[in-house]
Each structure stands twice: as structure tokens, then as C-alpha cells.
Symmetry: C2
Amino acid sequence: MITEPGNGTETRATVAQAVLSLTQIALAASDLASGITPTLEHLVCDTAAVGAAYFQASGDQALTYQVRAASGDMPSTPGMAAIAAHGLPADVPLMRALEATSQAMFFDDCHIASETQGFIDLGVASLAAAPVRRADGKLMGAFLMHTFDQHTWDDSEAALFSMVSGTIAALAGRLAAEEQMRAAQEASLRALGLALEARDGETLGHTDRVTSFAMQMAGRLRFTDAQVQALRWGAYLHDIGKIAIPDAVLLKPGKLTAEEWSVMQSHVTAGSSFATALEFLPSAALAVIAQHHERWEGGGYPWGMVGDEISLGARIFALCDVYDALTSDRPYKAAWSKEEALAEIQAQSGRHFDPELVPHFIEMARSLND
Amino acid sequence: MITEPGNGTETRATVAQAVLSLTQIALAASDLASGITPTLEHLVCDTAAVGAAYFQASGDQALTYQVRAASGDMPSTPGMAAIAAHGLPADVPLMRALEATSQAMFFDDCHIASETQGFIDLGVASLAAAPVRRADGKLMGAFLMHTFDQHTWDDSEAALFSMVSGTIAALAGRLAAEEQMRAAQEASLRALGLALEARDGETLGHTDRVTSFAMQMAGRLRFTDAQVQALRWGAYLHDIGKIAIPDAVLLKPGKLTAEEWSVMQSHVTAGSSFATALEFLPSAALAVIAQHHERWEGGGYPWGMVGDEISLGARIFALCDVYDALTSDRPYKAAWSKEEALAEIQAQSGRHFDPELVPHFIEMARSLND
């Protein structure tokens, strides 16, 4: 049973004001869930709906729609638990119906409509649903709001839901595209780090391992999102300057001569100058690249900085980098055991490493499964 | 003279409806100018303003605000021509006033208000202005609308302008952030290509030159934005597989042995497998990487594809890549002149290269200043 939304000019205009301010809130949000949640809350407040949710397809060929934001009471049936965990299958009658319409649909009685088949079993009595499409027209998500007791959706509820879903659909498309862009950016920077491993089989996996250690340290030290991102990007790119080091030095199995060692050390300044050309890199990421071979007590390279002259990110990263080198096979040495490596880290507390960070690192490393 | 926007509930609600639909249009837009222009057009239609424009700071420490979108009639005075060319200086009284307010400001008579000093000389009699802020509160732009004859802004004009500027300000912030993300993504992929040049001084500038040739071909062949992007990303990354080629082969000054040649050729499959891991790369970009050493008549590597089995992007790119190699110094040969290189390109029409593309390439190359 589909009810057309009301056309009362006055109602729609008043509703428009509310939707406009929700849109402004959503536009200022940093991510999809926090952008859409206030709108879902408004739906639950201003209509008979007891709960509202936004479902989005995961990936291009998605077979399910995952809950990305929700407000109010969701059904507590086993069926709903399965949807929360595994998503709403793309082939349920409701999603097929949404694929075929550009309008919001209103179902007063889920027993009757063929589109709402399955919802009664979830405990839902009345339902409203609206499609969310990408710029190319493909269905990418759906807004749903529901009641547990049978309800007849009225004109103002219909006007609100239609207008909200129109605006937020446009916004959800944008936010999803931004999420993809961010993921692509992340993948590109990681790829830049991984490119190096292609030359040097011995260090395969090094970039991902040190990044993972650094992320766990960032979590323990309660870094902000921006700090986490800078540390992660620095970790991806810390050795990018090694691209410029000749094979004869980079891959030499034996001990380096003094001259070769100075070529090898030049990877830090080469990497810094390469990374500086990436204008969008935050300075905290550049600092990881430029300072990850500095030592807490001095004597590191290239600057011989001391103590907290060295950026926090670089001090954290030095721990991750050395630990991974110790616990990996290298041409000149076999991998050390975790405890041997942690003993060495402890021995270097206050010498190579920041003594305040060492206990955190050791605790973090011990907590990892091998 | 600042007039407060009207508070007539009915007016505002009706205006909200118009602004909401403009917001939906703006949300669906692919870039800032096309997102904001319909709103500026609406302002010119629905108020006494004869022209409206959106100015945005260029960069973080911008000293000027550039016109990013405009509608209606702009002043035709020399002062306005200077603003169009060089931007609105950040230190004019109006921009300083906008820095200090979160509200839209309405000036009925630009002769009187100190904030509008300078605008009379531009030919502007009445002005409305609204600030656009980034998420962190910093002023990043301004909406302006103006009349050439003195006008008293009324309540409904003020309500429309205030609401529009509030919503579009939020959207402009988002679109500006997206522009930055796109630029960062572009810079990362180019950096991935450039990383290679760090190992091999002989090919310095090769990535940027072949990308520029490919972009000019794309323009001549009227590629869509998506096709242009795929070709550009393919151009950045075409030789990424050379990362895995040892110095002894990659940098060998003399002729390669058969075995070394087969190692060198492996850069195409290595590059393809590396690029395939970048899930966001469109298939047309992957095709450039995988097929840029194929030949129109067959006999290329790694697949020995023939004719238009080879993707259009790869056929275009092969021309760009070979031409740049011919006109550059290499360890084994001096640079050829432009005409020598183009004669070779012509000789290879229907052999190495697609005969339909060769005339376009030759015309393009001849049009370049050296």
C-alpha cells in the first residue's frame, strides 16, 4: 500500500526549513555516519517511526546493504541481528522495489504489500523506504524508518521523509565518493612505500609491519585522527629515499665500507626532499621521514638531534623500525626472537630510544600474537 | 548600514524550499563552480541584485580571494577587471569585516558604510556579503551580490541570501576539501612515477613529458574527463615495474644480452601486477601500463597483441613514449631532432603505431614550442 506524500504547500515549506538545517549539519560532518545520524534522529522524533536507519551497498557488485547509521529502536528479532551482522540482501523484494523507483515508498501494513515481505518476521509493522542513487543512477543505498505497531503514515511524515531522503541521498553519494577518494589516497601512499620492497625481497612486508606497530602505539598514546594519519603516512614513506640508493649498496650482502655507509645514510635526506615535493603531506609525516634514524642520546643521522628535539612521531617510529629489523632475517643476520629483540630495545632505553616510550612499546609488542 | 534579515516565518519557510532544491543541485555537482552557479543565478533572478559571485582564498596564506563562480552582470570598470585577473585583496575593509562576523551583511548604500570603501569606484551601489568558513573557523571565501543603482535590501532578499550563504558555505567547504584531496591523489600517483626517475638520471623529466604529450592527444581526440584521468594515471605509472629491474640491467650502458633483455621486458608484467593492487585504478589506466610496448602490426611484448586489440590509451601512449625516447639522450644514443623523430614515427605508421593516430601525433608534436 503506497501513500503519495502530501502536497500541502505550507507543510512542505515548514518541513523544508528543518531539512535545510539538518543538511547544513550533515555538510559539516567529517564522515557518513556522523553526517546522517542527526537526520535519522529527527525522523524518529518528528514522526511515528520508532527507528530509522541508512543502509549502503559495500562495493560495486554488492550483494548486501550494510547498516551505516541508525537511530532509535531496531527490531530485536534474530532476523534483525542477522541483518546487522551480515547486511540486508540485495535480492529481498524491498530492495528490488527501490531499484525500480526514484520516490520514497510508504507501507502502512507490512502484512499486505508484497514489497515488505519478510519485514513482519523482523517485527516491523509499518515501513517507509527511500532509494539513494549514485551520480550514474545506480542504487547505492536506502533509508528505512519503521514502527513496531501498525501505523498510517500521514502527509507531513511523508513530506519530511521524502525531502530528507532526497537531500541526504545527494549528500550520501558525495560522502561515499569522498570515502573512496580517501581510501585511494591511502592506497597510493602505501604503494609508494611498497614500491621499494619490490627491489629488495629481504624487506618484504616491512612497510606494513612497521605501520601496524606505529598504529598500535598511536592508539595507546591516544593520538588524534590527524596525528594518526601523519604517523601512518610517515611510516609508509619512511624509506622512500632508498629508491635513489644503488643496488650495489642497498643489496650488498657483506659489511658496507665507510663510503658505502655514507651513501646508504643519504636515503634520509633524499627521502625528505622527495616527500617535501608532496605538498599535502603534514609536517609531522615529513618529520618521521627526516628523523627516523636520529637517536635519543644523540649520535644519530643525519642531524644528530637529541631528546625531544626529535619529533614524537620519529621517536615512536624508530622503535618500530629497529624492532622489525631485529626480528627479521637480513643478509647479514638471522631473525632474533621477540624476547631477544625486546631485551635489546630495553637496553637501548635512554640511549637509542626515548625512555618514556620504551615501556609502552614493550607492552604493545608483548600483546601481539606471533 | 546593516539590515537584519527578516524573520517572517512564512517567508523563511518558502525560501527554505528553494534553497533546499538548490542545495540538492549543488550536492550533485562534480565541481565547485558548477555546484554554486545555479545558486548565484537564483540570487540574480529572485532579488534586485544584477550580479552575484563567489570568491575563494587560494591556499592557506592567501593574500587574495579569486572569483570561482559568477552569474549576471559584473561591473565593467578597470578596478573590476583587476579583481577578475588578480583577485580581491584580503586586506580590503569588506574582507576584514567578513573575517569578524558569522552573519551575512547588507549594505544599502556603499557610499556610507566604511566596510564597502572602494566598491563605489567599482561601480557598485548596493552590496550584500556573506562569509564562508572552513571547518576550523578560518575564513576561506565570500559570497557577494550587488546592484549598480542604489537599492534597499528587503526582508525576503535578506532571508534568501542568508540561507543560501549558510548552506552553500558548508558545501563550498566540502567541495574545496574534495579539490584538495583530488590534488593530493594526483600528486601521489605522479610521485610514484617520479620515484623511478630518482634511480635513473638519464630519464629525468620523462614521466612529465610523456604525460603532457598524452594529455594533448586526449584533448585533440575529445576524451571525456574519466578517459583523460585514466590515460594520465596510466602515463604516470607506465614504467612502475622498472622498480623491480636490477641496476645491472636497468642502468647498463651497453647493449643488453638476450637474458638481460628478457629481464628488462618483465617490467611490464611486474608493473601490471603492482598496479592491479591499486584497486581504484580504472581498467583503462591498467591497460596503458600492460600494453604500452605492444605494436600495431603485432610482435610487441608481452602479449603480441595486434591492431585495436590494443587499448586506445596504450596506442596513444606508445607514440608518446617512443617519441620522448627518440628525442632524449640515452646511454646508448644522442637525442634525435624533432623532425628526425617525427620521420621515424611516420615510418612506423601501421607498423609500430596505429596509422589513424600518427597524423594527430605529428600535428600535436609540431605545434609544441621547443
